[in-house]
Symmetry: C2
Subunit: 165 residues, 2 copies
């Protein structure tokens, strides 16, 4: 087959600029996620689980209720119980019902969990650099700004992810 001579103009692959932006967002997330997952799968972790451990680390030596942790995750998780089951089975977290209120289950990170995070920290940092290390600091900041603006109306006003400035 010979080379197609004059490309008859790029066909409109997208219905609208909104769609183009969203599909690019999806695609970019998907591509970068591959890099993350490759790393975590070596430790039998999902990105979401790692995220949860990081939040518990931030709360350490304190604890937090199961569902409170669920709402702080990047991507919402309607099944915290079983996710924590898996983490607890590996002794990465511990759970306890307090006598004051036996409804809530307080979750905390364990020494084993902290050790795992410590072991991972360097690799995660490298991973993020592999993902986005080719962008300049200025570009990254601009990207963050735009992403925040993009999701701003979809965040709860008081939430952890809502824009404050």
């Amino acid at each position: 087959m010979t080379t197609a001579p004059p490309r008859p103009a790029r066909k409109p692959r997208f219905d609208s600029l909104y769609q183009e932006a969203y599909l690019n967002l999806w695609r970019t997330y998907d591509r970068l996620k591959v890099v993350e997952d490759e790393l975590f799968v070596r430790f039998d972790l999902s990105a979401q689980q790692y995220n949860a451990l990081r939040l518990l680390e931030a709360a350490h030596p304190g604890t937090m209720p199961t569902l409170a942790l669920g709402t702080k995750l990047i991507s919402r998780a309607p099944d915290m119980t079983r996710m924590l089951d898996r983490l607890e089975e590996r002794k990465l977290v511990h759970r306890e019902r307090k006598p004051e209120n036996r409804r809530v289950v307080e979750v905390g990170i364990s020494p084993t969990g902290l050790a795992l995070l410590d072991e991972l920290s360097g690799l995660v940092r490298e991973g993020h650099k592999r993902q986005l290390g080719h962008l300049s600091s200025r570009e990254l900041k601009q990207l963050v700004e735009l992403l925040q603006a993009a999701r701003d109306p979809h965040e709860e006003p008081g939430g952890r992810w809502h824009r404050t400035k």
Copy 2:
């Protein structure tokens, strides 16, 4: 950049600017995805399935092999067979083995599928506007540019998603 001016207030929620950008990407994708999913779930479709139907629509009245379709999807799908099983069961697509090469299965969109896309088109357009309608055209274009730049090294050079300009 000189060393930190007064920046004591905000706690370092992120390890690095790379991480901040990636987590913002993740979060933004997740928030906007909610809007899409709400729409598609009413039609018992996933975003990925819709995406596949759109690709088949673009090829219509032609067809394409199963795996070729798989590689064109936004997010990679290692199990095209069963995804197409579900779509075929609903008569949205049709599959056929051609005598010339009985290994490949050619997939095409059916009239029912085209009708569904037609029914959806307005709603999808509205959905995208609800997702990102608050951003200016200039912001959207800038966002697309940055997203493309972000994933560029992670795309295959010849691929459908690789930056050409």
